[in-house]
């Protein structure tokens, strides 16, 4: 890929930095009380209703297989054409430009939908591909 740098919303989750394209990040909200879902995978912490819509909350630390017992403060709501989801965040850094051509972080699993590392003022972060990840998570069952 030979695209130029794009604005990404960078956020920290249990010591690691992640980034989602700014145009896919619809909102940042405080983490509300969650409702657990029957038969859901462990990284799906639960759902909450937001502006008349049910949003599933994904714990990125569990998703990449490094679960951390931490109290998350915020969630980053991400919306793609197929649907919406929210990622847990301990701190939201802000919008930073990230280069388009970055290598994937893995071949299989969730890491196949992350690329990097990308250098931002706060450190190095992994850029998430929200469409791919949602597709992958929907397929997961």
């Amino acid at each position: 890929m030979s695209e130029g740098p794009r604005g990404h919303l960078v956020f920290a989750c249990a010591g690691s930095l992640y980034a989602v394209p700014a145009e896919r990040a619809s909102e940042v909200v405080n983490l509300p009380a969650l409702t657990r879902v029957p038969g859901a995978a462990p990284h799906l912490l639960g759902v909450f209703a937001h502006r008349g819509e049910v949003l599933p909350v994904i714990d990125l630390t569990r998703l990449i297989g490094k679960p951390v017992e931490e109290r998350f403060k915020r969630v980053v709501v991400v919306r793609v054409a197929r649907g919406a989801m929210a990622f847990t965040a301990t701190r939201v850094i802000g919008v930073n430009p990230i280069p388009g051509a970055l290598p994937r972080l893995g071949e299989t699993g969730a890491l196949a939908f992350m690329s990097g590392p990308a250098t931002v003022p706060a450190g190095e972060c992994a850029a998430i591909d929200p469409e791919g990840l949602l597709e992958y998570l929907s397929r997961g069952r």
């Binding site: 700014a22 940042v28 802000g94």
Partner: protein
Amino acid sequence: MTTPLPPGRNRWMTNPSTLAAPLGVMIAVAYVSSVVTLPDGTGAAYVGVLLTVLVGFNIAADLFEQSRLRTVKGLGAGLIKPTPEALTAAAAEAAQAPDTTFFLALFAFMVGAVVVSGLWYFLASPPVIVAVRVGLVGSLVAPLTAMMANLLVLPRARQVLRELLDAGLPPESLAQVLPVRFELRRRLMLYSTVAVLTPMLMVADASLHRSTELLEVVKRQPDVVVARAVFEAQRAEGFGLLGALGAATLIMVVLCAWLTGSVLGDPLKRLGEETERLAQGRYQRGRLVMAEFETWAAATSMSAMETHLLDAVQGARDAARGIGEAAAELVTHGAQQEQGANEQSAALMATTATTEELARSAGQISANALRVSEIARGTLEAAQAGKTSADAFTGAMAEVRDGNQAIADSVVKLNKRVQQVGRIIEFIDGIADKSDLLALNAELEGHKAGAVGEGFGLVAAEMRRLAENVMTSTREIARLIDDIRDATNAAVMATEAGVKATESGAGLARKVSDSLGDIVQFANLSADAMQSISLATVQQQGGSDQLVAAMEDINRTTQKNVESARQMAVTQGELVEVSKELAQVVDTFGGRS
């Protein structure tokens, strides 16, 4: 130490009565055979009836006698335990036995005589007059037989009573069982009457009968010469018979008298022996001579007298011993008194010396007391100064305590303010957090708006930084508030400790002040007391001299006292000797009690 009653005493005691009956029968038969002419063919019947009645009555009488000696029999056989009650009952039986035998023999002999004559009359049909005479002869012998039986049983009854005493019968019980009866004279008269009257009646009867027979023979002879010859022959025969009868009577009377005398005299002889023993001073408890009537009264009285004498001797012995002990004690006390008097004398000498020493030291004390009095005055002044200082300290401590209390109150107020500030800071933090979130979303929207929203994004980013700064500051303030809270808590605790310390300090100062007040009071008192002592010592100095003189007087008196105590000891020693002699004299009355 008791000896049990030998067995068979019941039978042994009454055996003589069984012997007396045949003896009486023999006398009666001898008389009848020599005086009464039995009709031909009736002799065998007479002897048969006589033997049958003799044996039958003897057995019946014996059974009756034995039935009245059951306790004696049971004791001898060991069937009855020798309790005091049983022994007393046995004694009553034995004491009763001689009289029982007497009356039984009398009754049996009289009735027996009537029965014999009656039966003989019905069996052999002799002339009525002969049958009646035979019966009368039997009755005539009855009192003699009864008397003999009585006199023979009496010594044995006494023997059994003695054995009962040995078996443990209390002598006083025996005195109850055998009441004193003053009947000796009557009994002697009875015995004499029987012993004399029976042979007399027999002789009279024989003479009368013989005379009548002779008269009949003479009457039947018409020839005077023949009649005279027959009369002479018969009279010669009669004289021989009467002579024999007289001799037999004499023997009988002497025998009865001897028996009576020996039976009744034996206790008197024994009493004599006992009296002899008493005269020799060999007293013994529980000695009793068995006797009857007046002799028994004498015997029991003598026994009681001996018991009382023994008690008296024992009392005298105890008294002598008590006197001896008391005298010995007196000697000891006398010695102690003598020693005490000596010690007293020595002590008085020492006291005299001490008094002289006292008189000398009194002057010294007086001088010292004056010095102490001055020192006490100095102490008083120092204590008064100390009390003033302590009161000032107490006041200062009270001020410190009030100051501390004010600090404590202020700290508590500060703590409340700090908590209020903490709540405000939390509120500010919440607002900053919301501002941060709002600014973040604004930045995001600004970015999405592209170039148009670029400025908006910048403002939002600034706003975020501001919010973040606020949050950093609030975190810092929160930390400071925590520090202040810890510090104020420590201050509160320290102040409370300070308040307590000042309170206890103030308390101590009060105590010091009170103690110093007491010291002031005591110092005042001591100064007064010292002055009094000083005065008293001066007065005492004069008194001590007089005391020394008095002591010397006392000393002289005590020396005299020592001398008299020594004299008293000598007298008491003599008293001990006298009491020993008294004890020896008392001991000569009976070696034992």
